[in-house]
Amino acid sequence: MTVADPRSDDARRLAEASAWRTALSEASAETDATFELWLSDPANEAAWDEIQTGWLAVGGQAESLELLALRRDALDRAHRSNARRWTTGRSWMRPVAACLALLLCAAALISYLAFRPVEPLVYATQFGERRVVTLQDGSRISLDANSQVSVRYTAEARTLELVRGQARFDVAHDTTRRFLVHAGGSTVVATGTAFNVDMMGDELRVTLIEGSVEVTRDDQTTTGPQSNRWHANLRAGQQLTSVARAAPSIQDASLERTTAWERGQLVFEDETLARIGSRVSRYSAQPLVVDQSVAALKISGVFRAGDVDAFVDTVTHYLPVRSTRRADGTVVLTAD
């Protein structure tokens, strides 16, 4: 065709714009020298703006209830379609399917024998202990002191629960099985990513180190006006805080600080003794009790995890606080 049809020319540019949009996104890139050259043509630029407008509009509504429903349906159908292809087939595929079925049976038997426990695996640490666990799919859990995680892997999902304490999760990429971490009534949903979950009392903190996660609270224990559902999406470097299961706040976090526990450090920046007390207690069999009279006092500093004595020395030196040791070894901080 040699006659230039302006409509088809526009359409070609739109298709090219879409191809660029897809290629850039697939490569996790925002720009590229060849792309910039293409974009420098005003007609291409106009086409690009149209494609990009639709692209951004969808991104801007990604967390809306309507789109979340569409997304869930898309994931469900994709996984069902994937499963179905192994159970039906054209006639010429039948012998192949039969062989595969036999292989799958053998594999199922082997994996049944290997992973017989249906109950979740439980990993726990004692006071002052840290531990790194590599799971069967290559995901890693770094457990802070006095923490516990249960792990249940099935063909459909990787479901974990942070029962207490703090852990960092480095998730191996597996788009067919979502990685779910339940913690204090909230759920963190991830695909391939790294994040830190910290439970202290009724406070939950989720910090995203890289990738992307969704945190949802879908309260099944309460109904009616007390029911309490929320949903948040984190970007790398952001920290979500939810107190007493309430709607969360999101701040930029210091990753250095959030992951300091992995290096055996406790970093506090203008935090209350009440918070610090429960954190320090993770590392010592002798709990630290912070009396109500001094619970709201604040302090900043870096301490070695497990060195409760040094911490108590510092606090009593800089703050109007006195420490007493009970017969059972518990250290109590009260007003001086």
Partner: protein, 178 residues
């Protein structure tokens, strides 16, 4: 937002650059919220440059900084990169193009907004498989090869479905008057 960023944001000298920089970044990022952050990053970098009079005069300089910021981010992502950026299959392009030209009618170009009702309506107009594939790619960060594997289709079919969705959304959500 750090103190440096705030200072930059308040610096009147840079203010005329805000709108063009926003347009520049909105053209290139995937999440609208990122554009705002990137503008602040440019301002923060400009603050570090000694001769500010010169900056305000030199748009080219400012956009060079903006482009470098994006490239730096891209390089970080490049470790995971497995797509050939410059490859666009002309056959695939023309196939979808023809389909689109035949389908083009003025009434399909509606008042375009980015509110949730419009976006959901636009997506719901797509047929199910096109919509599913587009959403898995756009919002679930799935690679095209992975989607192809899940649906048992070829990668080029996946790419075509995404293109179909992209063009439909572009038409449906286009801002009035543009």
């Amino acid at each position: 937002m750090s103190r440096v960023d705030r200072a930059a944001a308040q610096d009147n000298m840079f203010e005329p650059l805000r709108a063009p920089l926003m347009r520049f970044f909105l053209r290139r990022v995937s999440e609208p919220a990122e554009a705002e952050d990137l503008v602040q990053d440019v301002f923060a970098r400009l603050l570090a440059v000694a001769d500010r009079e010169q900056i305000a005069d030199s748009k080219a300089f400012v956009f060079r900084i903006a482009l470098n910021l994006l490239n730096d981010r891209g390089r970080r992502a490049a470790r995971r990169r497995d797509a050939q950026l410059a490859v666009i299959d002309p056959h695939r392009v023309s196939e979808v193009t023809l389909e689109f030209v035949e389908d083009q009618t003025p009434e399909r170009v509606l008042q375009a907004r980015d509110d949730v009702a419009s976006v959901a309506a636009a997506l719901n107009q797509l047929n199910e498989r096109t919509r599913d594939i587009y959403l898995l790619f756009r919002l679930e960060n799935m690679k095209q090869a992975k989607i192809a594997e899940l649906f048992g289709i070829s990668r080029s079919t996946v790419e075509k479905e995404i293109m179909r969705a992209n063009i439909h959304l572009a038409k449906y959500l286009r801002r009035p008057g543009s």
